[in-house]
Symmetry: C2
Subunit: 347 residues, 2 copies
């Protein structure tokens, strides 16, 4: 187990999150007692990664009945609805945010609560369950991945999809960590993942702690390594998978998938079922968040471009399903045809 936590509930009513903006140079935990502050933390990327922001939203909602000064059920329920809307707006692309919120709201709506205390216990209980399940699901997903990660494997990875992107383990990097825990000799190429450098900062920090051998390389170098060295597979996470298998993930995923395809390197997407959005028929309907310009013009506080440089900063891209060799889920590995085989997961 890592010595850090990405997100956890602190009794009687705080959400504690490691501040991923200052990693790897500082290990700082922020505590939140207000759902709007949690929403802002999601927006500012204190916490990021599809599973982690699902758990963050769930704990954010759990703060409402704990701290609500009213003891009127109606008021608390209205505050819960309001908080859910604020949280839902925090980031548009990852589906886990809405998934976790809807799961808690559905539970609230179907029950007839006798007291605010009961409501509080149920909401907090469900948030804790979401967090616990996340760890179990990730471990299960990572275990299924082992048939694809052989001893000696050289793996290309994008962004951060590890314990920092989840409650623990994470998705793609979790699978890599499990391979290492099982004693497989693996080597990982981490692309740095501009603009926010989640690969260079966060995945490197995690792999150093787990003792997994790796190298950080510039995003533009991925194809060079695939063309000139033995790379066995790529494995990435995702923020939303559409019903047809199109993948929304951190900007740069599409380039990586295309160069992998061109070099006949298998390209796997690790995805908990909660990240599959069967309501999205294809990637075309997934909103791509445009993030602030300073993420491109600056690294930390260091300005890299000239003053007044215009930038484009899409946070995600869509990788069409045809580039995906298989999806790795907690229920097993899903091969094409995706339209049909992803649907089977939910039957």
């Amino acid at each position: 187990m890592p010595t850090f936590h990405t997100i956890k509930w602190v009794d009687p009513g705080l959400v504690s999150m490691i501040d991923q903006r200052v990693l790897p140079h500082q290990v700082v935990y922020n505590e939140y007692r207000d759902p709007a502050a949690v929403a802002q933390a999601i927006k500012d990327m204190v916490v990021r990664g599809a599973p982690a922001i699902g758990a963050a939203a769930a704990f954010g909602l759990a703060l409402v009945p704990v701290h609500d000064t009213s003891d009127k059920m109606e008021t608390v329920l209205a505050d819960l609805k309001q908080a859910s809307e604020i949280l839902r707006q925090a980031r548009p692309t990852a589906v886990n945010l809405s998934w976790a919120i809807d799961r808690i709201l559905a539970l609230v709506e179907e029950r007839n609560f006798k007291s605010v205390a009961q409501l509080r216990d149920v909401v907090l209980g469900e948030a804790q369950k979401i967090a616990l399940e996340d760890v179990e699901i990730n471990y299960s997903l990572g275990s299924h991945a082992q048939s694809l990660i052989l001893d000696g494997a050289v793996i290309f990875h994008h962004c951060n999809t590890g314990a920092l992107a989840a409650v623990d383990y994470g998705t793609a990097l979790g699978a890599i960590r499990i391979a290492h825990e099982k004693g497989k000799k693996i080597f990982v190429y981490l692309d740095e993942t501009r603009p926010r450098l989640q690969g260079a900062r966060l995945s490197a920090w995690e792999l150093l702690q787990y003792g997994v051998p790796f190298k950080v390389v510039a995003d533009g170098a991925s194809g060079h390594y695939m063309r000139t060295e033995k790379i066995d597979l790529c494995i990435v996470g995702t923020d939303r998978v559409a019903a047809n298998g199109d993948v929304a993930n951190k900007i740069g995923t599409y380039n990586l998938a295309v160069v992998a395809h061109e070099n006949k390197v298998p390209f796997y997407v690790a995805v908990p079922k909660s990240t599959i959005d069967m309501a999205a028929p294809s990637g075309d309907v997934i909103e791509i968040e445009e993030r602030p310009a300073h993420e491109v013009t600056h690294v930390g506080n260091l300005q890299i471009t000239p003053d007044n440089t215009p930038v484009g900063n899409p946070a995600f891209d869509i990788t069409p399903a045809k580039y995906v060799t298989a999806f790795i889920t907690e229920d097993g590995i899903v091969y094409p045809p995706y339209q049909e085989n992803l649907a089977k997961l939910f039957q």
Copy 2:
């Protein structure tokens, strides 16, 4: 004309170069009177870009007979040879370095000099000629490119290939500047080009001065824009083209070429004939320089990775000829088959 110079000779015996390591935040000119210092400046990337380092090496050699304290021809010739070896080692991938050195050495060898003063005039004259020709060649190359850059074109560009990469104009960015000077309404996507950010720092700085509309985007975002927007063409420079049309260029070029190919976006390589190495049968024989780790672990003085993070930092990659739609040279546009049609340039 830009208000800056990349490299120029200052009488009676100094090479002046803009320090590209501190652009765009500071505009500093360094002066060199020693060829070994010029070699170090090339190595440290005070000056970079294939045509510019060719001119830098030529002026570096011209320093020898100017400052040599000996008036013995033999000694000066030996010093010239020694300086040429130091300069040749400065960077292994770009062919212009050796090309410029060999051109001056050949001239020295075929002549019977009466005095060191005569030798000095001949070497300096040839270096000046190389610099002047560079501007003419680039302008000619950029003019030929105009048939490919139509009014309204949206262009993707990698690294810096402008006046800063040459004596003036440059190659790919020179073609873009000429299109703008001719009144064409164009728009340019500059990828930032990690690790040294030549796109974000240098090309952005140049285009702001010329008034060409552009946006800087992360390297990983190129495919996203090609997939979702109208991009008419990519145009890049090169550090060496092999006889079969394989292209050595700044790391990230191969990824860009592959995503362009996948999205049916024409991919053009702007190349002065001096950058074509007919002695290299294919890209496989071109040495790829591995540069220092701190270029990946740091941006400027800011450390981005955790301590003790291992990195890979290939400065260049090879783009196989099949991804190149055409080469743009000072003699015109060259289409496949490249083996045959590149050879024709030298007949």
